[in-house]
Symmetry: C2
Subunit: 395 residues, 2 copies
């Protein structure tokens, strides 16, 4: 087992009507002027924003509003948020939405609490020294940003958009309010993309080169089986409270560090492959992950067959075949079959990206390898050539 | 799934040489004067105290020392600690030891940060409004106090000693330093009592009346299987690092709230039954829990057979028998067989308490029921009569 640090200070308030506690939670933080940050019109229409602001008002907390966050949240809006926070003397950022809204809030938090160019933190030129406190009212179970230390922003200010992350404990949410009922009205595609995203946060950590961490492996395997079971339930019964609750809680546990304890950190190649697709084609994150995972798995499994064997047995619970190779490949196929069963893509064409030219593939790979300055993944280190192979094979 | 709050702000630094980070961790908290609180001579002899104080000195942090904490930590020493903290202007409590030392530190923290009688918090007359910050260097995997909000103190100032708990998020450790190597020299009895304590923290939550929380159940079942496997390994190979690490991490996860998410809080009758034994006979906590569990289980299972059936199947993995009743009883027996295999008692006689008179049993039950003012347990509510039954049957 590797040494590790586990730090999850976020106070989770989980269950029905949890959003009514928002005002009290902000007050507990000693904050007085809130930026309520949100996405589109659904939070307004559903009455959620009204309930949240009523809860703030009941505690005598004043607020300003900033909507308009889109999936793959944009740097331009982050700048607008920073300006607003400075103008208004905001001392708390309340994200009402999913991972995009939370990430946009964290970025605003970094930008407001530190001088200088906020994008520096995403280009890794500087590290943030502080962050305005952030809290979340979660409406999508997917990104896990409500308990994670990560934050991914898309820079839409240059010709080639860039999707980059900044990870820091400073940005961890002070609290996360999670009412599974709030996710019941999501369209199937978003619900299921979320399920894939949740699973991939655990799988990226599960596929690593350390063997001896039974507790973490067991938690991960159980989490993956639980999400699969409940994702299937939600296909037929999207208003099933318990299924929504299992998926929502799994989303937080999947990305708060728990499923990585004792590992070497994990592979994360699929996330990097998807980030480039997200920046270039603006695809839904979870769907993008599903579209590349199977190809990645077949490309790399020979480098760590025991891990893929354990995955086939304990997660996919496939029948033992006449050779380990066949069992491993059956495990990968079983996961793809699961993705198909929840209407998720298992290749780029199904994701909506067809007819890539070799030049486009090479461009994607060049950018994904940061102009050939890095490799991605730990099961197999992937440079520009290997990245291009995977994009090509994933078509 | 029930609504829940999950709050585990403790920063865990886990692994080899973790104790060398103590100075930096205290500094991160902005504290300057530490009370190093510990138990007997082993922390001194092993050189651990020297390494810890060297780490504090390296960061320019001054400290005073207070040793002498015993299992079932005493109120008298807590009072001494409070006095010392006030005299010396201590602003941080560093517990170097196991659950007893951490609980004694938390109690000192409550007593120093609040005016008035500290025992009030344990008699539930008042709630603490503050606590000095506490950190832990863990040397025994058992109590889970390093991540829990609980703290149990034995009042040794009256004729009948009382063992009572105070639970508050204010007392949660700021950090927990966990190096599994520090637990390698523990005697077998302490190691295995620790394993029982860890398992019981999960089992007390697992046995509850809510059914639909798959993620929590799966985490709990895996945790229990993992601890049993590694407890057995430690019987033959007490210096097995990975086994020590699995048990140590399980100890924290077992009592930080994770295995209770979505439940009704759990049963906890066995803990209350043991508290009375601990206060009266000063037995080792984990061993005391093992000694009453089987009797408790046979006494209550008919009130919630589905839960005991799930336990038999998923935790003890017993063969399906011709009736549910037989499978359930086989599950209970399998757990007792496990306790025996790690040299833990499964009745009071094996715990070292023999020949209780009916009057002694009635006295224990009277005190355990708080003079007949409460029931314990949720699977079956146990009043004075039922508590006496269990003590009698557990002989």
């Amino acid at each position: 087992m590797n040494n590790f640090t586990y730090y999850t200070p976020t106070k989770v308030v989980f269950g029905k009507k949890a959003e009514e506690q928002v005002g009290a939670l902000v007050k507990e933080q000693g904050c007085k002027k809130v930026l309520v940050h949100y996405g589109g019109s659904s939070a307004k229409k559903s009455g959620l924003l009204d309930r949240v602001t009523a809860s703030l008002e009941a505690e005598g907390i004043s607020y300003v509003m900033l909507g308009g966050v889109v999936p793959n949240p944009r740097l331009a809006l982050v700048r607008k948020g920073i300006e607003l926070c400075r103008q208004e003397g905001v001392d708390f950022l309340l994200a009402v939405g999913g991972g995009s809204v939370i990430d946009s809030s964290k970025a605003i938090g970094y930008g407001t609490a530190n001088e200088g160019e906020v994008w520096d933190f995403y280009e890794k030129i500087r590290k943030p020294a502080a962050c305005l406190p952030v809290g979340a009212v979660l409406t999508i179970a997917a990104a896990g940003s409500e308990m994670s230390h990560s934050c991914v922003i898309t820079n839409d200010e240059e010709k080639n958009w860039k999707k980059k992350g900044c990870s820091s404990d400073l940005g961890r949410c002070r609290f996360a309010v999670m009412n599974p009922e709030l996710t019941m009205t999501l369209p199937e595609y978003q619900t299921q993309s979320g399920c894939v995203d949740i699973m991939m946060h655990t799988m990226e950590r599960y596929f690593n080169r350390v063997e001896n961490m039974e507790l973490t492996d067991g938690i991960s395997e159980n989490l993956l089986r639980t999400v699969m079971k409940n994702a299937r339930i939600l296909m037929d019964d999207p208003e099933n409270y318990d299924a929504r609750a299992e998926v929502m809680w799994a989303g937080s546990l999947s990305h708060n560090g728990l499923t990585g304890c004792g590992t070497d950190g994990g592979d994360w190649a699929c996330h990097q492959l998807e980030h480039e697709l997200g920046a270039t084609y603006d695809v839904t994150h979870g769907a993008g992950l599903a579209a590349v995972w199977g190809t990645w798995a077949r490309y790399v499994w020979r480098e760590k067959p025991d891990r893929f064997l354990k995955f086939a047995r304990n997660v996919m619970q496939v029948q033992e075949m006449e050779s380990d190779e066949k069992t491993i490949l059956a495990g990968i196929e079983a996961m793809e079959a699961f993705y198909r069963s929840i209407h998720m893509p298992v290749n780029l064409r199904e994701l909506g990206i067809s007819g890539l030219t070799e030049e486009e593939i090479q461009d994607l790979a060049y950018r994904c390898s940061y102009q050939e300055t890095r490799t991605i993944g730990c099961i197999k280190k992937l440079g520009r050539k290997e990245i291009a192979d995977i994009y090509r094979l994933a078509q």
